[in-house]
Subunit: 394 residues, 2 copies
């Protein structure tokens, strides 16, 4: 059993939106294909993965470092004891010769590779990826559904922050019509009073603070983080996301000492040791706070399972994990690993963001289909990209 070819395609994300810190107009994603020598229906079986959404494609690291190592490896080094492809072994080969530390772009490049192997293994077993992932992790196999909320409420790329609360309500009303009953909006890109008006407008749709989260995208210093904390505390929001620099554990701890509600963070931490530092030094509270590390940006499922082990050793329940990145891959991982839930970006991050029409979405939950692997082939806007990568294979 061999992976005979590794391919990468850099795909731009659609939708010019911005959060408190960055515009996504130039963001890209690396779609990776692991082409096997196994055949089904007269075609090679191909595993697809991508490095989540919200940062950048990694063509350079994939083509210059990871793919050469994978191509030069003894093919048996990519196999597990059962003789099948082993995502952990593939990730280890991809990382050969890399130094410790520096978990940034590299982490998402490795993730795209590792996730492509999970897709491949699931397809070879003719089962959805959540089944493969659950079995490998020794978890009960359930098919969901899992909670999902709609993330949006961006400031417009052309400025915004002008108090467009009617537009915000309309946006969230649209998500409600799609079957969502919980929402997340951005804060920190406008003055506090404007943001409070936006929150109150969003609460008119959400109905209750427990159905609305706010996301500052790491913008605040401690003083401003605490000022926002004091201002939003009365709303009893679902969570207050990434108030400060993701690595500023001291800030997070100081905020957790004064803000009683849940704090969510971690989408910009890309390794198990960074997440453990957040717990050790960042004041993260078991049973209250939410960990949003995204497997697709942080070396994939193998590293994410390490992270879960460390969190559980510190008293956290995996239900407190809500990975960043609302897309099919993370849906399968949330279901397979028994995590707390998913996000969704109905309006943005196409073609990767969102789920497939075959997924059941409604009542505030989402359930994956029975397609083999992550089922990317069932998402119409992804199909042309998948075809472009593999159309020449016979």
């Amino acid at each position: 059993m061999r992976i005979v070819e590794w391919r990468e395609l850099t795909v731009p994300l659609e939708g010019a939106v911005r959060n408190a810190v960055v515009s996504f107009a130039d963001h890209t994603v690396s779609l990776v294909a692991a082409v096997s020598d196994q055949r089904r229906n007269g075609r090679p079986v191909v595993g697809f993965g991508f490095n989540s959404i919200g940062r950048f494609g990694q063509a350079g690291i994939l083509r210059e470092r990871l793919f050469p190592r994978l191509r030069q490896a003894d093919p048996d080094d990519l196999l597990g004891e059962d003789g099948g492809f082993d995502p952990a072994a593939v990730a280890a080969v991809a990382m050969a010769g890399e130094k410790p530390g520096g978990h940034g772009d590299r982490a998402s490049a490795v993730a795209a590779v590792e996730l492509a192997v999970w897709d491949l293994v699931a397809k070879l077993g003719d089962e959805p990826a959540y089944v493969t992932v659950a079995r490998a992790a020794g978890r009960p196999v359930t098919g969901g559904p899992v909670p999902v909320y709609a993330a949006g409420g961006y400031y417009d790329a052309d400025g915004g922050g002008d108090g467009g609360t009617a537009r915000l309500r309309a946006e969230l009303d649209g998500y409600r019509a799609m079957g969502f009953d919980a929402f997340k909006i951005k804060v920190g890109g406008a003055p506090l009073d404007d943001d409070l008006a936006r929150i109150e407008a969003a609460l008119e749709v959400a109905g209750d603070g427990s159905r609305l989260a706010v996301d500052a995208n790491g913008r605040f210093d401690l003083e401003r983080a605490q000022a926002y904390g004091r201002a939003i505390a009365p709303y009893g929001l679902r969570w207050y996301e990434e108030p400060g620099d993701p690595l500023d554990y001291a800030l997070n701890r100081a905020l957790a000492d004064t803000y009683a509600g849940p704090i969510a963070t971690g989408e910009n931490l890309f390794s198990a040791i960074d997440a453990e530092n957040l717990v050790r030094f960042g004041g993260l509270r078991p049973g209250i706070d939410v960990v949003q590390v995204d497997p697709g940006l942080s070396y994939g499922v193998t590293e994410y399972r390490r992270l879960l082990g460390r969190l559980e050793a510190h008293g956290f329940d995996r239900a407190s994990c809500h990975p960043h990145g609302g897309h099919l891959i993370n849906l399968h991982l949330v279901v397979g690993l028994g995590l707390g839930g998913c996000e969704a970006y109905p309006g943005v991050f196409r073609p990767f963001g969102g789920y497939a029409p075959t997924c059941e979405l409604g009542g505030g939950t989402v359930r994956p289909s029975q397609a083999p692997g992550f089922g990317l082939e069932e998402k119409p806007e992804l199909v042309p990209h998948l075809a472009a990568m593999t159309g020449d294979l016979t």
Copy 2:
């Protein structure tokens, strides 16, 4: 005043050596050229920078993200208040649209760009870069010399660890003949007893523990880090470098509680906030421990000055900073910023490692030449690469 072109050349490092964790056989460096519209002697003035040594070139991030932003920017956004090129402004433009966190490969790509601008500014001022850097930092301008030690004592790429202590002594004797009087060798790639034999062989050349450091390259868990600590404590070594994972602050703190001698770490931390976390949570001791963050891997001089400010706020003296990366750029930064000293890798990391023949090396110190900029043009093995990047310019 305009930067009219940005170029990148990926250059392989020579020398197949390994430390406790990785082989350097496949390592590369990105050489960056900032081509200005200013002319001297009938030729455009070009600033050169590179992303230090020991990790990888960053052609992908430079060509896909940083260079496009720099090319599309308003040229005035790259200038300071004095109308000259401003390295901090250039770094900010290069980082536009990047999210917080994830300080890995990106940090070294930005460093290569930022450092090229320092070289350019110094050349336009017709002065060595240490003068430009010192003036910008409000530091007294001295020309050195600064302490330097020879780093080597690698395990052979083909295995080693066989107790080749005679070869190790001969290697260090060679460094002594070059003018070095302090040394660093690797540990952790062989069993403890073999490493102790290597340390004792090295001490025969070094003469005293204060002239010998050992480097574990982040290999150890806490138990092994402490076992090595207990075993080497009697030698009174100069420092015990990177015992554990660079981000495992809890490990570093536990070791600092039991190992009384200096611990050196930070070469695999790539931002000011990571270094501050090391101080806040890693038990780093002012007046004892050594910080090795490498500006060429961590966003350049602008971020490094931020880091110095944070260290000094925690009671550290900048003399406790010994940047990783023994090469001309870091020599100028150590002199210009008043840091503790430099390292040198006489045997490896060509063509970037080591100094130029015009630098004064001897008596355990090194002093930069008076060449404009970082003086890369005075390092013969770099000349062909510089020429390959700019030979077409007229």
